[in-house]
């Protein structure tokens, strides 16, 4: 298969000094320059930042490539170089075919011009030939749904109409290679959803796509391959699920395992928590859990005396701190005081229950003392891990790859009959 994009040793350096000069006034620069020339001010060593350092990869035609990484890792710089908005400091890249990007939605729209005029203007800016715009004009207008106002200046449009028209033009530009930076893209959730849908279409029609996103599920679902970029360098290149799992593991160091010395273990004179662990899933790095599989939370605790009945409890919160649920072991083994000693209790959270994203676990050893729940030992934000959907279509989201709200995400049984 032919190669659509070749990137060889691409690097981009920013000098911090340049930024200062850029925002300074002419007078400041003249003063600095003259001082340097007369030797009154020494050229201070300029601070350099490599936004991108020696990145190389190839993308075969028709591949959908996802790029993950933290903010400021260099993902957007890479896309800006590939769209030729900024030029690299070192290295080289080759792209076969026309390049488009959803960054450009509505770019260059002129408020004073009518919708019709803006379609032609925007088309030319995106790189469409006039004939091409003419040929697709009716489709574009129909797709946008603003037929009635096509000869009205766009400054009179509602923001929704404006975005729809802009998107319609971009959606009818059909480049061979499309670069999408979701981080920089504008618009509301609905608009982003359409962008994603459009991207999926591009991928399905054999176009080459590079997709930068913080929405890891979208990457897992849409991409054939993923790159992980950190501090400007390429860390990993491989299957999306694997790359995302490793990326999440590295960024979530809060821990999937905690152990305390018995003397310093949290708790009182009745019970102490000695260790906590999220049981790892085979084939995934610790700290990353497959959304479809059950997740075990292991609590090792010590009962110091046979005072009153105790019961282990967990509390699950999502990344925004919303409580998903509390759970205690209701088995009758805890209905009477247990003899002193060490116990390991494991709570099994069913697969397809939690939603994707970060999960925080709290653990406690309690006594039920209605109306109170008495905590003997409690650890807040004890464990955290990341729930990941590998995007194979058999989870609760099916084949949908967009945003899926909710603290939980159960896979329900549905019944359906033919209505009479």
């Amino acid at each position: 298969m032919a190669t659509a994009i070749t990137v060889e040793g691409l690097s981009k350096r920013y000098r911090l000094g340049e930024y200062r000069a850029a925002y300074g006034t002419l007078r400041e620069t003249l003063v600095h320059t003259s001082r340097r020339l007369t030797g009154r001010e020494h050229d201070s060593p300029k601070q350099e930042i490599w936004a991108l350092r020696d990145v190389s990869f190839e993308v075969p035609e028709g591949q959908v490539l996802g790029i993950v990484g933290r903010n400021g890792a260099g993902k957007s710089t890479l896309l800006k170089i590939l769209t030729r908005i900024v030029s690299p400091t070192l290295g080289r890249a080759e792209i076969r075919g026309r390049v488009g990007s959803l960054l450009e939605v509505g770019t260059g729209f002129n408020q004073e011009l009518t919708g019709r005029e803006n379609v032609y203007l925007n088309g030319a800016i995106l790189g469409m030939k006039r004939q091409e715009v003419e040929r697709r004009f009716d489709e574009i207008v129909e797709f946008s749904g603003v037929e009635k106002f096509i000869d009205t200046p766009v400054k009179r449009y509602s923001s929704g109409m404006y975005v729809r028209l802009a998107f319609a033009v971009a959606a009818h530009f059909e480049p061979e290679v499309i670069l999408v930076d979701e981080v920089l893209s504008v618009g509301d959730a609905e608009f982003q959803r359409r962008c994603l849908g459009r991207m999926e279409e591009f991928g399905n029609t054999g176009r080459t796509v590079i997709f930068v996103s913080h929405a890891l599920p979208s990457i897992a679902q849409l991409c054939d391959r993923a790159l992980w970029i950190d501090s400007g360098t390429l860390v990993e290149d491989g299957k999306p699920a694997q790359v995302i799992a490793n990326y999440l593991h590295q960024t979530h160091s809060a821990g999937t395992e905690r152990v305390w010395e018995p003397d310093h273990a949290p708790g009182n004179d009745l019970a102490r928590i000695l260790a906590l662990r999220a049981v790892p899933h085979d084939g995934l790095p610790p700290g990353v859990m497959d959304v479809r599989r059950e997740i075990g939370i292991e609590i090792l605790f010590r009962v110091l005396r046979e005072g009153k009945p105790v019961v282990p409890k967990i509390k699950i919160l999502d990344q925004e701190g919303a409580v998903a649920f509390n759970a205690i072991d209701t088995h009758e083994r805890w209905s009477d005081p247990v003899p002193p000693g060490d116990y390991v209790a494991t709570a099994w959270i069913p697969g397809n229950l939690l939603n994707e994203g970060s999960v925080i676990v709290e653990a406690a050893i309690c006594s039920i003392d209605f109306p109170k729940l008495e905590h003997h030992a409690a650890v807040y934000e004890a464990l955290s891990f990341e729930v990941l959907d590998p995007g194979e279509g058999d989870s609760a989201r099916g084949t949908f790859s967009g945003q899926w709200r909710g603290v939980v995400r159960p896979l329900l049984d549905w019944t359906c009959e033919h209505a009479e």
Binding site: M1, Y14, E18, Y19, A21, A22, T25, L26, T29, E61, G62, K80, I81, L82, T83, R84, I85, V86, S87, P88, T89, L90, G91, R92, A93, E94, I95, R96, G97, R98, V99, L103, E104, T107, G108, N110, E112, L113, E117, Y120, L121, A124, I125, L126, K129, R130, Q131, E132, R135, E139, E142, F143, P153, H172, E176, G197, E201, N204, T205, G206
Partner: protein, 305 residues
Amino acid sequence: MSRAPSTLDQRTGERTRVDDETPVDPSATAAASRITVIKPASRIPRLDVGELWHYRELIWTLVWRDVAVRYKQTFLGIAWAILVPAFTALIYVIIFGKFANFPSGDTPYPSLVIAGVLPMQYFASALTLSSLSLLANLPLVTKVYFPRTLLPLAGVSVPLVDFVVGLPVLLALMWYYHTWPGGWEVMLAPLFIVLAVVTVLGIGLLLSAINVRFRDVRYMIPVFLQVLPLLSGVMFAVDQIPEKWQWILSLNPLTSVIAGWRWAILDASTPNPAQVAVSVGVAAALFIAGLAVFRSSESSFADTI
């Protein structure tokens, strides 16, 4: 990799149908095989004419946009392209012609002035538009690639429309005073306008590149444009002033533009060829310097703007 339009059918059945009816667009196939090479900006600035040709439709579109927007939501519309030079000329005629008695040689003073005001107006508009062009198109510069030279180029092209629309004022005065072109030299008239375009494009490239970094340019331009008519012989015939001053003024290409234009159109006195040569030299130097500065800083526009 084969295209699979079937997946498009559910959402945009219309599109595939249209595609089937339309023969393959040869330009689209040509674009498909086009390879874009991205590498560090070259040290030696040069004008990539082939690339400019590739983007010729965009130049037209940008010019068309600016022309279309220029007089939107004005009551008098394009009539301003006539009124502005007419009023300016009227003021000059009253102040400098009636009260100050500026020398005009053999040419009637109003014809002389309007023939100077039209290129001057062009130059002033083109200078302002091209110098501020990069900043005025900030969203384009930071989001889409195209040769950045297109923006100053569009900036100097747009006021040509005003210039052409303003010509009837000149023609009316020529008719009134019976000052017609002498003969073949009228064929050279467009060349002097080309000289004005080259000059202003050079300055526009230079100032627009500087303006990316230093917004001071915006404040310098009006000051410069205030003194420029005096230094270009808009309200007097250059051959009527001492020769020493003629040579100094010839360093300003606009002086030769106006003198040459009057000679070609109004049959005014022939400009000194050596002085015109000086002006052409200065214009060429400005153009090369402007292009060099622009091209060498072009790659960092998006980083610093």
